[in-house]
């Protein structure tokens, strides 16, 4: 009975919990509610993934209204995996947030914080699970608006969080507006908002100026949301000045949901036969992805604030995801989808380690990192392990992603791209090693005594590091699910 309603529960549970948490008087109570809800969402997403792998695509009609009229929630391997990433990261990050948010956000704002967090979780889960284009926009806005608030909460530590949130608000709104204009044009041409319906009617209309314009608006809008180079300018400041737990959550999930939507629109709705599909992928997404890989990594090398450095690194990593997408092959999409998962693990762990440093010293510049290898041995060990994963060392998830991406490039006969992928990953060696050298080979500044981060921060960090290594050694599950997802998107038989 409940099993049949899991798709709606995935979204409804956090949505209902959000207003409830406003009534909590203390931050701790709101946290408990949020944590329980997040665990629930995680369990639901595991169950959904299990169902999808067993039975194939799940379709759920809201309020029993049949599909083209009512809203349909549609779960296949692709979004089941993204749902799992979002709810899983949320569940790992919350125990971390309890301590870190209590430290970084004013007491009277903490209840509000968890309300916004729940709304953000709702929005992200909703935009991924829905099978309705306009519904996706609504959830995208829920997620975005709550994210602006979450970022602005970093103001207690650094007032620049307010301008960062404001910039993000302006840019994010432009992106969402572009997206909704595109969806509107689609509705005008096809008379439907249901994704499955759209996918049927668009090829029937064929080449049409309005559809091409809709395509352009949607790709641009989502490109902005996922921080595709050169529309990434909102991201570094937002990540650098948001509270640490928010940075972890956003870095691991928010851009991933946008990548998923782009995948869904490109491959499921417009489809590979759409006239502008190929040129867009080959002449727009592929070059931009390659530029992002190099430009953002190069900028990362020169950052003083390590949080900003990792933010630029994220832009480069998003380049890898878009690159895999641009091949439009099963292996390419597998690489993209597995990197969604793997990148969430590695960046989550890295930002958590940095958050522990911020909590102790107030910032995380390269100067602060000096001698930390001795001052905070466990935190820095986690940073090194996460860094190795980011570089793509064997036995970490980063290696799996890189292997698949290079395989995809070679299979498509694009060997120069394969060389560029590995070359750009060498830039990661440079920016990670700057930190490692500072932490291990320089003495700590005068007066800094050894003192590890509290276990509440360390344990979630090491859970993610453990996942980095586990899924790096045994990637059969993740490659299988990502492969299923890729085939679902490309509509090829498995």
């Amino acid at each position: 009975m409940i099993a049949a309603h899991l798709p709606i529960l995935q979204v409804a549970v956090p949505l209902v919990a959000a207003p409830l948490s406003v009534f909590c008087r203390r931050g701790a109570t709101a946290w408990t509610l949020t944590f329980v809800v997040s665990i629930g969402a995680f369990l639901i997403s595991i169950a959904l993934l299990g169902q999808v792998l067993d039975q194939g695509v799940l379709s759920y009609q809201l309020g029993d209204w049949a599909a083209p009229w009512g809203i349909e929630y549609r779960v296949d391997a692709a979004n089941a995996m993204v749902l799992l990433i979002i709810s899983g990261i949320s569940t790992v990050v919350l125990p971390y947030a309890r301590v870190s948010i209590a430290h970084e956000v004013e007491a009277h704002n903490q209840t509000l914080f968890y309300t916004c967090y729940l709304l953000c979780l709702t929005g992200l889960l909703g935009m991924v699970i829905t099978g309705d284009a306009f519904n996706a926009f609504v959830f995208l806005e829920i997620a975005s608006l709550s994210t602006y608030v979450l970022v602005a909460m970093g103001a207690k530590r650094d007032r620049r969080a307010l301008t960062a949130a404001y910039t993000y608000l302006v840019m994010g709104t432009i992106g969402a507006t572009f997206f909704v204009i595109g969806v509107g044009l689609l509705y005008m041409m096809t008379g439907t908002l249901n994704m499955a319906d759209l996918a049927e009617r668009i090829p029937a209309i064929g080449a049409n100026r309005t559809l091409v314009v809709a395509f352009a608006f949607i790709v641009t809008g989502l490109g902005l949301k996922l921080a595709l180079f050169p529309m990434h300018l909102w991201l570094p400041n937002a990540y650098a000045f948001a509270p640490s737990a928010v940075t972890v959550f956003l870095a691991a999930t928010a851009t991933k949901a946008a990548v998923y939507l782009l995948l869904r629109f490109l491959f499921t709705i417009f489809g590979t036969s759409f006239p502008t599909f190929e040129p867009t992928l080959t002449y727009l997404l592929l070059p931009l992805a390659v530029i992002a890989m190099f430009a953002a990594s190069t900028v990362a090398i020169f950052q003083v604030d390590i949080k900003r450095m990792l933010a630029y690194s994220s832009i480069a990593q998003l380049g890898y995801m878009v690159l895999g997408m641009s091949f439009a092959t099963v292996t390419g999409l597998t690489a993209t989808i597995i990197h969604l998962f793997n990148h969430a693990l590695m960046k989550g762990a890295l930002f958590m380690a940095l958050g522990a440093v911020v909590m102790r010293f107030g910032d995380a510049t390269i100067d602060t990192m000096r001698g930390l290898g001795r001052v905070m041995p466990w935190t820095m060990a986690a940073f090194v392990a996460g860094g190795l994963s980011l570089i793509g060392m064997p036995l970490t998830v980063g290696f799996i992603s890189k292997w698949l991406l290079v395989t995809a490039a070679l299979e498509s006969g694009l060997w120069p791209i394969a060389v560029l992928v590995v070359a750009s990953s060498l830039l990661a060696v440079i920016y990670i090693w700057r930190v490692v050298e500072a932490a291990y080979f320089e003495p700590p500044p005068e007066g800094v005594t050894a003192g590890e981060a509290p276990p509440a921060l360390l344990i979630p960090t090491w859970i993610l590091i453990g996942a980095n290594i586990y899924f790096g050694i045994d990637a059969s599950l993740t490659t299988r699910v990502a492969g299923e997802a890729a085939r679902a998107l490309l509509k090829t038989a498995s």
Binding site: K402, W415, E437
Partner: protein
């Protein structure tokens, strides 16, 4: 004990040992005891594997797990890997004993980190040796790079950090930038990465592209130090001397040329290479590296730098042997891995002993030291003769087979190159010995010797020769043993030949 258990133990012993070493951090004697015990256990395990590998029946193999569909982590024994495993685990014992003497006498810091990383490095070298496919080999190759980085940058000075950066930069740059591409290319083209007798490339990659793939492999294996990717080796000379010995003789460079040999024999297949001539260009690159590095070595006054360039040159012999793509060339190159290991570790032990006893690093300062340190200098002479390739030292066998291989391949120029290079070896190694024995120290006897050792050791009256002032016994005994090893390898060269021979048997 089954073969699979023994293979599993060959990885478990060093990695478990590294954890135990870390746990014994508080007690230096216990920690060193753990190191030596681990080394001995590992060697015993490898010898056990040898007895099983040479016995009749299927070769030992172990499947650890599958990382991605079709890409497995697996171990298997074949002759070349068996030899490399024996070198790495056997020399680890001597190197550990030597390390104890060296690190304590020089009051090095952070010795626990040193021994932990050392154990991990040896474990990964054994992993490289016994890897059943290129994927497994690559994984251990990378662990080896990472685990030796703290050893290279051990001193943590600005110079050590710069050296460490070059080390890591070149090795990671080549392995990820070139080798990984080559491996994935092989995987995409052939659908397998298993080391297979006769190779897997034949017929799967367009013939015109085979030299390109080969180039990605041999330059991507940066540890083989083929020019122009040799810079890391001299840069890594800032490390403590036992680490240099590890890099040059035991694990790192040997893992490099071993991988080159393995790729040539089991990925490409020497018959395929010989038939297509895809490796002809490599003969010239290797020959050029060989001569250029020898000439550079002559210009170096710093003893360790000279030995470093000597290593670059000697490694090119192995690559050359592989590039000849004849049975004799491959056998000669493979034997040279063992012969050079024994000779070069002796030379590095000697350099470290000289530094420990006198704190001298420049050859021009070492006048007359041979009389003070007769054991060290005697061992140095033996090691040098082996590297040059004179009987009765092991090094003569490998050069012999390399020349035969060159003759088989009708590359008469290569024979000339090998002869010129031997002369160059004489020119850069032997003057150091002559200077030690036949010149006198600039001032009175005992000039430049640290006070602690000079005190209470006055010249023996009437003898006209200064008293012996050797490095600590922990340093001197291992280097005498490795020097003896050079001679033993000459006597038992035949046994090594018979161990390796199945590798090229059709």
């Amino acid at each position: 004990m089954t073969a699979a258990t023994a293979l599993a133990l060959s990885l478990l012993i060093p990695f478990a040992g590294s954890i135990l070493i870390a746990l014994a951090a508080g007690n230096a004697n216990l920690r060193e005891a753990v190191t030596v015990t681990t080394a001995v256990l590992l060697f015993a395990d490898v010898l056990w594997l040898l007895s099983m590998a040479t016995a009749a029946g299927p070769a030992p193999a172990l499947m650890i797990g599958e990382i991605m569909p079709g890409l497995t982590l697996a171990l298997a024994i074949e002759p070349l890997g068996m030899m490399f495993g024996m070198i790495a685990s056997g020399l680890w014992i001597l190197n550990s004993i030597y390390s104890i003497g060296y690190m304590r006498a020089n009051l090095e810091h952070k010795q626990t980190r040193y021994y932990v990383c050392f154990a991990i490095a040896i474990g990964s070298a054994v992993g490289v040796a016994f890897a059943a496919n290129m994927f497994t080999l690559f994984i251990f190759y990378e662990i080896l790079t990472i685990s030796t980085y703290p050893l290279v940058a051990h001193k943590e000075t600005a110079e050590a950090r710069a050296g460490g950066r070059t080390y890591l930069g070149v090795l990671i740059g080549t392995s990820i930038g070139l080798q990984l591409v080559a491996i994935i290319w092989t995987w995409v083209a052939t659908g397998t990465l298993d080391f297979t007798k006769g190779g897997i490339i034949s017929g799967k990659v367009a013939e015109a592209m085979v030299p390109v793939l080969l180039a990605l492999y041999v330059f991507g294996i940066g540890k083989a130090a083929l020019m122009p990717f040799h810079r890391w080796l001299p840069a890594a000379m800032v490390a403590p001397t036992p680490v240099s010995a590890l890099l040059h003789a035991v694990a790192v460079v040997k893992a490099g040329v071993f991988t080159v040999m393995k790729v040539m024999v089991y990925i490409f297949g020497i018959d395929f290479l010989a038939a297509t001539g895809s490796s002809n260009w490599l003969i010239w690159v290797a020959a050029a590296t060989l001569l250029a590095a020898s000439i550079i070595a002559m210009t170096k006054d710093n003893l360790k730098a000279r030995l470093a360039y000597s290593t670059v040159s000697q490694l090119a012999y192995v690559t050359l042997g592989a590039a000849l793509a004849t049975s004799m060339g491959v056998l000669g190159g493979s034997m040279h891995i063992a012969m050079h290991a024994m000779g070069k570790i002796t030379l590095f032990f000697c350099a470290g002993a000289i530094y420990t006893a006198t704190h001298k690093t420049e050859i021009s300062d070492m006048d007359g030291l041979g009389r003070l340190m007769p054991f060290t200098y005697g061992a140095f002479l033996i090691g040098a003769l082996s590297v040059i390739g004179l009987p009765p030292m092991g090094g003569s066998w490998s050069k012999w087979y390399l020349m035969l291989g060159a003759a088989d391949a009708d590359q008469l120029v290569v024979i000339g190159v090998l002869m010129v290079s031997s002369l160059l070896n004489v020119a850069y190694l032997l003057p150091m010995v002559g200077r030690g024995f036949f010149t006198l120290a600039p001032d009175a006897p005992g000039h430049g010797v640290p006070q602690a050792q000079a005190a209470g050791a006055a010249p023996v009256p009437g003898s006209g020769r200064p008293p012996i002032r050797e490095a600590p016994l922990f340093c001197v005994v291992p280097l005498c043993l490795t020097a003896a090893g050079c001679i033993v390898l000459f006597i038992y060269g035949d046994a090594l030949y018979r161990l390796l021979e199945p590798m090229v048997r059709p």
